[in-house]
Structures are given as C-alpha cells and as structure tokens.
Amino acid sequence: MSALSRPLARLLEKPWLWAFVGAALVWLATIPFTPGRGAGDVLTAAFTFATFFVIVGIGQMFVITLGPGNVDLSIPATITLAGSVATKLMDGQDALIALGFVAAMGCGLAVGVFNYALIRALRIPPIIATLSSSFIIQSTAIAYGRGLRIKPPPALAEFTTARVLGMPVLAICVIVLAALMSVVLHRTIYGRSVIAIGQNQRAARLAGIAVDRTRLATYVMSALFASLCGYLLSAFSGGASLNMGEEYLLASIAVVVIGGTSVAGGFANLPGLWGAALFLFLIVTMLNTYGLGAGIRYVLTGLIIIAVITAAGGRKPLR
C-alpha cells in the first residue's frame, strides 16, 4: 500500500466528490465545441449562475436536513417577493441599496416566521404549509410588482456582475458564505441540533435539544437566503420579474440532492452544493452547445435528478 492511498481513500468517501467529478466531465465535454469562447469563459458563466443556485440551496439544505417531511416549497415565491419589494423601494438609487437589503431581509423574516407558524399551529406537514403560503406570497408579489419596470441601482448591478481575474466577485462572496455555513453546520450548537433532529427528532428532544427553536430558525434562514437570492438576482438581471423565482424550486432541491446531502435528513455537506450547481449549469451549457433545444434540456435535467436520487437511495420517504 502506498502512502498516497489513505488520503485518496478518504477523498473517495466524500459525498460531494461525485458532483464535482460530474461538473468537470461535463465541462471537458463542452469546451471542444465552444468556438470563439474559451474554456475559461464557460467556467466564468457557470460560476456566475451557479452562485444563485447555491444561495437558495444552502437554505433548502438546512431544511431538508431536518428530516423526513421537511422541505421549503415557498422559495420561488419568496425570491420573487423580495426581488420586487427591494427593486421598488430602491427605485434605482444607489443611496437606497441598504434600505432595499433590509426590506428584502424583512420579507424573508416574515415569510419564514409565517411558514413555521403554519407548521406548528395547524400541525400540517411542512410541504403543505410552505405550499399554501407560497400561493399567498406569490399573489402579494404579483399585486405589488405589477407593471414593475424599474432598473436596479447601478452600483448594486455593477457589484453583482463584477469580476476579478475572470472570477465573479459574487461567486467569491458566496464561496466564503458556503464555507461559513459549513462551520455553522458542523461546529455550532445550532448546526448540531439540525443534524440531530434530522436523524431522530424524538431522540433529539430527549437529549435536551431545543427542537422547536431550531426548526423555526431553519425555516426563517431558508426564507432569508431565498430573499437574498431575490435581492441579488433582481440586481443582476436588470430588475425584478414575476417569474424570476420559477426555476429555483427544482434547482434548490436538485443541488441539495445531487450534492450528496441525504434527502432522508441528518446528513449534509456544503461543498456538494457548489459541485451540483456547477454541474446543473454546465449540463445546460453543454446541451446548448450541442444545439439541442429546450425540450431535450428539460428531459435530461429531470432524468438526471431521478437517476441521482435512485442511485443514492432513500432511508425514509420525505413525507
């Protein structure tokens, strides 16, 4: 046995490895067919868009880690609401960037508290609670944002599209954010509590863990990250739109599943989110490069998710 084999074996055990391997393979399969655009450009674009997947993925991951039945379906509606509210309040003025941020976070806080209140007070599964609330949030966003044609503040738009050495600044920030959240997950009482609840909620309660407080915090956090995504996305894409959150329901769950987090709860990792988000975006790029239409793209995205979840298997169903 060589001295290398042990670190290698440990690397092979990492749940997030396969997402990165998949992303790298797809990237390699794409670059020979991208005339005029270098391999670096493809990566830059991938990091740019993956950033938004990762932001919502973090929140969704903590929710899913709470165990069977926990999932946040209100993320797309929350993205739209926070994006619309922030854009309208900032009214394209750089001076109001902070105000917009506070407003977006306020939306997230309200949504998160409302979601958990429904779960607790009506004693309904989180799927149904977040689904019901998403209807209301979506309507609020539509009613509030109707006819919205406001540009984001230039400074904020510039920040979301800035690059350093080809690397999007926002992506760097979110890599740091993911690293921070990884510490939160593994090294704080809150993170340990989330993982413990996901493995066995009753045992967690009997071990003295504050189950209700932890779950409330997690649903609030998921809504906050969705709001952050909405805030940044509206600045990035030149304004809020009513369907801006649409693709993030599948994306938020897909990056968690593909990233090697257990859908049955109690086991999570942050790096996998990045691997999975890059993988998802690069797949789309690859199919575009090959000249395949939207239909094939949808079919393959769906099949990949089903294949990954089938390969990973499930301990218990999510509901």
Binding site: L122, L131, A143, G295, Y298, L300, I306, R319
Partner: protein, 313 residues
C-alpha cells in the same frame, strides 16, 4: 353530550360540502344571472379537468405520497391529444398508454428504492414538460372531434359539467370505497405493515395507485383539450397546486389513507368557483392564487380546530 351532528367526524365530513354551498350562495347573491343553465355551464366547465387531476392526486395521496408532476403530465397529455391523437390516432394512443406505464413504473421505483416521492415527481415534471415541448414547441393543434363534442355536450335541464362531475365522483367512489380490493388499496395508506402482514403486496398496490393517477391525469388532459381546442406544454402548470389544494379542501388527509373521492371533486369545484367569485367581487386576478392559498389555510385551520376539540373530548 354533544349531538351527533356536531361530532368532530361529521363536522369534518360535511366541511367541504358546506364550503361549496356557501360559496355558491354568495355567487348567486352577487350575480343572480349565474343561476341559470348557461351561467353554471360557463362557470363549471373548467372544473371537469381540474376535478379529474384532483382525483389523480388523491390516488397518490392515499398511499402517503405526493405527485408534484401532475400538472406537467396533464400538459403532456394535452399536447399529445392536440397533435398525435388527431393526426395519427394509433401513435397518440400509444403515447397516452406509455404515460400510464411510466406512472406505474414510478410507483414501483418509489416503493422498491424507498425514494421520496416529491423529489422523483419534481424530476418527472421536467421530463413531461420537456417531452411536451418536443411534441408541440409552440401553442397550437386542435381537439379530436369526439372529445370536443363530448365536452360541449348540451344535456337537457342539468348542465353537462354537473353531470360529469357527479359521474366522476360516483365511479371513483364505488371503485375505491365500495369494492373489496379498494379497501386493500386504502388500507395500505392507513397501516402498510398490517396490509403486508395479511399477505398483500405493497408493490402491487403502489403500482396500481400510481397507474390510476396516470389514467385520471390522462382524462384530465383530454378533457382540457376538449374545452380549449388547442394545446400548449404549459397549459396545465397550475394543476399541480390546484390538485393538491382540491384534494385537501375535499377532506383528504396527507397521510393515513383517509381520502374522499366525492370530497375531492367538491374541492376542485370549490377552487374553480372561487376564481369566479373573486372576479364578481372585482378583485384583481393577481389575487387569484393568493385566494387559493388563503382558502387552503382557512380550511386547514378549521380542521385543526375540530381535531383539537376532538382530542379534548
């Protein structure tokens, strides 16, 4: 002692019908002209595909799963119906049958690999959407003549949608609630281990229930094309949410196999009418979805209150 009329179980059972009656009364009061053959026909014909999709969702709920792909699947069926079923019926029929087979296969996959149904069906929603886009890239197509004829049927005295809804409710009620095998299917939602211990195959039950969901989703897509006469991949995107909401409004529980076909149909009609009601109130269509959510929360809150009263007894 409370009278049996106020017993929690009775209250829960009549809640859907009472909500519908109240809503209808309010609509008639606001807009007396709707209390006519044409008025009811106009308000209710879109309820038929929604009711069929809700029944499909109910089958899946009955075995403690959830189908987030039903809307996309109905869209797929609509695209097949509007194109292949008109141009080349054998191909169209084969495509529709394949859809049902895929549903049955999903049931088997979810059971055998013990997968979370929401992730699998969320993935499937993209597959259906993709295939639908491939079949019909732009809105278009036409309805097969016989489906259009059926959906526009001018029945005497009672409008067709009411007859259709009644027939759907009765057929499914008899099949699921009154047959010998139906009790096994429902029992699998109530206590799967007991059903297994009694020697029944849970795999077969899951496959049957998902296949039934596929059949009713197919009927929903065909009925929808009969009304709209042209197809679009996104035509039924809202059906996923509406079907879940309708089933729950109709008294179906999320787990435990407690379902009600008649309730599901009533729930679907209530949701459809809620749209008309809001427009009669001159409330902006922006709030349509929000109203669905609010109604859902209201009904769930009422149910939670009833349950709590029951516990206290």
């Amino acid at each position: 002692m409370t009278s049996t009329l106020l017993a929690p179980r009775t209250l829960r059972a009549i809640l859907p019908a009472v909500s519908l009656a109240l809503l209808l009364a309010a609509i008639f009061w606001l807009q007396p002209r709707t209390m006519s053959y044409t008025g009811l026909n106009l308000m209710l014909n879109l309820a038929i595909p929604i009711a069929l999709a809700t029944i499909a969702q109910m089958f899946v709920l009955c075995v403690n799963e959830l189908d987030l792909s039903i809307g996309a699947y109905v869209g797929y069926v609509a695209c097949v119906t509007a194109t292949w079923l008109v141009e080349s019926p054998p191909l169209g029929i084969a495509a529709l049958m394949a859809g049902i087979l895929v549903y049955a296969g999903l049931g088997a996959l979810i059971h055998l690999r013990n997968l979370p149904s929401i992730v699998v069906t969320l993935g499937m929603s993209f597959v259906w959407l993709g295939v639908a886009v491939l079949i019909l890239p732009r809105p278009g197509g036409t309805s097969p003549e016989w489906i259009r004829w059926l959906m526009k049927l001018h029945t005497p005295v009672v409008p067709f949608p009411i007859i259709a809804a009644t027939v759907i409710a009765i057929v499914v009620h008899v099949a699921l609630m009154r047959t010998a095998y139906g009790s096994i299917l429902r029992g699998a939602g109530g206590n799967p281990r007991a059903i297994e211990r009694a020697g029944w195959s849970l795999l077969k039950i899951k496959v049957v229930m998902f296949a039934l969901a596929g059949v009713f989703g197919m009927l929903a897509g065909m009925a929808l094309i009969g009304l709209t006469t042209s197809g679009d991949a996104n035509i039924a995107a809202r059906y996923t949410l509406l079907s879940i909401a309708g089933a729950i409004l109709g008294g179906c529980e999320f787990v435990g196999g407690r379902v009600s076909p008649a309730g599901a149909v009533i729930g679907a009609i209530t949701l459809t009418l809620a749209g008309s009601f809001l427009s009669f109130l001159r409330i902006s269509p922006d709030w349509q979805i929000g109203a669905t959510g609010a109604i859902l929360i209201l009904v769930l809150a009422l149910r939670a209150l009833i349950n709590r009263a029951e516990e206290r007894q």
